[in-house]
């Protein structure tokens, strides 16, 4: 604020000086020149009247010759001063208006407003650097879930998009390079409410610099970075970046999950709030030939996943000299949008097709042509831009994969419940039947088809004071105890433990209720909202805990003891 104040003062110095000089010369002249009053007696204007006259003359208000009609000598002087003061007045006003329209000054105003907005943030927020497709999806999903975000981006167009976006709350946005640590500070990196930094710019080096700045200035917060080269990933990992996300790998893993375990894929979409409980799992085609269109970075990642599944894969790529050729497997040169190329790749007998180029129109064209050749084809459609959603949905592909949304969802889970990501990673090693059973088990717990709630718990003094206190006194607490309804111990809460990380680092998927809790254990729950709030009683209130463990809660107050006849 003070910089703006000083800027205005400095720039207004010359016009103000001119104004003072012109006014004082005009006033002095009027005071010195002799005049006459209405009776014809000699009269001289005082400073009071002179200043009054000059004030309304200079501003072109012009009340007339007050208090007495002027003599010719006075009128001559007034003619000179009219031109002098009016010009100077217009010059000053003009400078002030130009100053207020100055780009630098207006930017300073906006920036100032932004900094105050961030300082006033009273709730935890995440700092998002880069508002591209992924940033946009992440902000939308964060705000939708009741979180808060602050955005830094160097492109005014993209920030305009953010302003136009219809979301629950206004997201503060700073226009500037996010690789500049000063901008990160302005955006609230040092604010104690800042819980994490997400670097999503398309530039690896910029993301690297954001990660370093964030780790140096705030070692205690979570840093998540986008990177698409292995060297940069290694570099980021070396100084403790919490999570590094390769958009192409993430995408390919997502696709692989759909292949290997359709139920886990469904469970994942459900637990992350993407779909309702009624969805049927996607029925993947059996073994057979797959066609992969586009062999860029995305196509390569998908290719390796398909190979891991031991599926025969034909690649269609227009510029193999740029992208390279698949190490083994067949390559057909062409765009894939025309029938000839698709037939050459064997679309008639293929079971599946991945339209994975970086152009939505081409992808749609490939998919539509391929469906014409082979109507039973299983189509995986890659969507690049959010605004193409309408036409992509209209096509009706078996799986639509929007890379930005997938990455944004992963980041959102990493920020809120990182254990869920680990759970899905471990779930991938299980049989598909395991996921299907789990899915119906959770669906059975929830009444009224409410969306499942997922939350984490660390057994420590802060989050589960009653449990740690009880363990310290030598009364062991089982996992089943905290899953019991603290109002009626015959009933269980509508929640299950998906994953337990023991204090010694062991991981247990769906642990038994008989397991004894230890301080430092981390638990990942899934269940109803009501179960979550009921469980807080057991965790923090020793009477509730005693009740679920032993079936009664002791009378502690003196009055109660007296009434009961206990002494």
């Amino acid at each position: 604020m003070e910089s703006i104040f000083f800027l205005i003062m400095r720039r207004m110095r010359a016009p103000l000086l001119a104004l003072i000089l012109a006014h004082s010369v005009a006033v002095l002249g009027l005071v010195l020149i002799p005049g006459v009053d209405d009776q014809g007696n000699p009269w001289r204007m005082g400073f009071f009247h002179a200043f009054y006259f000059v004030s309304y003359m200079a501003t072109t208000i012009g009340f007339g010759e007050i208090p007495y009609a002027f003599t010719d000598a006075q009128r001559t002087w007034v003619m000179v001063t009219i031109y002098l003061t009016v010009i100077v007045w217009l010059y000053s006003i003009g400078t002030l208006i130009a100053l207020l329209q100055d780009r630098a000054l207006r930017r300073a105003f906006v920036e100032n407003q932004f900094v105050r907005q961030v300082e006033r943030m009273g709730e935890p927020f995440y700092l998002i650097c880069g508002y591209g497709e992924t940033g946009r999806a992440l902000v939308a999903t964060l705000v939708e879930g009741g979180g808060h975000a602050v955005v830094v981006d160097a492109s005014p167009d993209r920030l305009d998009e953010l302003k136009m976006e219809v979301i629950r709350e206004q997201v503060p946005a700073l226009l500037g390079e996010s690789r500049n640590p000063e901008n990160l500070q302005k955006a609230g990196l040092l604010n104690p409410m800042c819980r994490g930094v997400v670097a999503l710019t398309p530039d690896n080096d910029a993301n690297l610099k954001i990660a370093i700045s964030a780790k140096l200035l705030r070692g205690d917060i979570k840093v998540i970075c986008r990177a698409d080269s292995k060297e940069v990933e290694a570099n980021m990992a070396s100084f403790g970046t919490d999570h590094i996300i390769d958009p192409f790998d993430t995408f390919a893993l997502h696709l692989a999950t759909a292949f290997q375990s359709p139920c886990l894929f469904l469970l994942r979409s459900w637990l992350t709030g993407k779909i309702g409980v009624d969805e049927e799992p996607v029925c993947m085609p059996g073994k057979g030939k797959w066609i992969l269109c586009g062999y860029g970075r995305f196509g390569k990642a998908v290719y390796h996943r398909l190979k891991d599944e031991e599926l025969e894969t034909v690649v269609i790529e227009a510029t193999p000299e740029k992208t390279g050729r698949p190490p083994d497997g067949i390559l057909v040169t062409g765009w894939g949008t025309d029938e000839a190329t698709l037939r050459a790749a064997g679309a008639e007998e293929a079971v599946g097709l991945v339209a994975g180029t970086d152009n939505d129109v081409n992808n749609l064209s490939i998919a539509m042509t391929a469906r014409e050749i082979n109507p039973d084809l299983f189509v995986v459609l890659r969507q690049n831009r959010q605004d193409n959603r309408v036409i992509v949905d209209a096509f009706g592909a078996d799986i639509v994969m929007h890379a930005s949304t997938i990455v944004a969802d992963k980041i959102r889970i990493l920020l809120a419940t990182p254990m869920l990501v680990e759970f899905f990673g471990l779930g991938l090693f299980q049989e598909d039947q395991w996921s299907c059973t789990l899915f119906s088990r959770i669906a059975g717990l929830l009444e009224n088809r409410e969306p499942p709630e997922v939350w984490e718990l660390v057994v420590n003094d802060e989050r589960a004071s009653a449990v740690t206190e009880s363990i310290r006194r030598g009364h062991a607490v089982k996992l089943g105890h905290i899953l019991t309804n603290p109002r009626e111990r015959e009933e269980s809460l509508a929640a299950i433990v998906l994953l337990m990380i023991r204090h010694n680092g062991d991981r247990m998927l769906l642990p038994e209720r008989e397991i004894f809790l230890e301080p430092g254990d981390q638990l990942l729950f899934c269940g109803s909202r009501l179960a979550r709030s009921r469980m807080r009683w057991t965790l923090r209130n020793e009477h509730s805990l005693r009740y679920v463990r032993q079936g009664y809660s002791p009378r502690r107050g003196r009055v109660w003891k007296f009434l009961r006849g206990e002494r």
């Binding site: 800027l7 400095r10 207004m12 110095r13 103000l16 000086l17 003072i20 004082s24 005082g46």
Partner: protein, 129 residues
């Protein structure tokens, strides 16, 4: 420090001039209006205004302090001019009481101007080193 800075000359000129004019108006018998001319008060006010504007936009500690002293002087002088104007154009004439209050107000402004000049000297001495 070899070349003369014209900005510094103008700056110093107006600050010293506001003090000297102020002093010129102030000297004389406190309540005798023949010793204190209204033109001189006008000159003091104009020169002080210019000195104030010249101090705008200096972000140093010294600059801020000098601006503050100028603002104090302006406040006192405008008050003096108002007292004079109200007395001259209202029903009461320039009584010794009015003149005394005008002159003492300008005396206060002079003190602020003295501080301004002292600050200017301190700054100059420090720059020499």
């Amino acid at each position: 420090m070899n070349s003369m800075n014209p900005e510094k000359v103008i700056f110093g000129f107006f600050i010293v001039l506001s003090l000297t004019l102020n002093f010129g108006f102030f000297v004389g018998e406190l309540d005798n209006h023949t010793h204190h001319h209204v033109y001189e008060l006008f000159a003091v006010i104009v020169v002080n205004l210019i000195a104030t504007i010249l101090k705008f936009g200096d972000r140093t500690q010294m600059g801020a302090l000098m601006l503050a002293t100028s603002l104090v002087a302006m406040l006192q002088l405008v008050a003096a001019a108002l007292v004079w104007g109200v007395a001259a154009h209202g029903d009461q004439q320039l009584t010794p009481t009015v003149v005394a209050s005008v002159v003492s107000l300008s005396g206060g402004a002079m003190l602020a101007n003295v501080i301004s000049v002292v600050l200017l000297m301190i700054e100059t001495v420090m720059l020499r080193r």
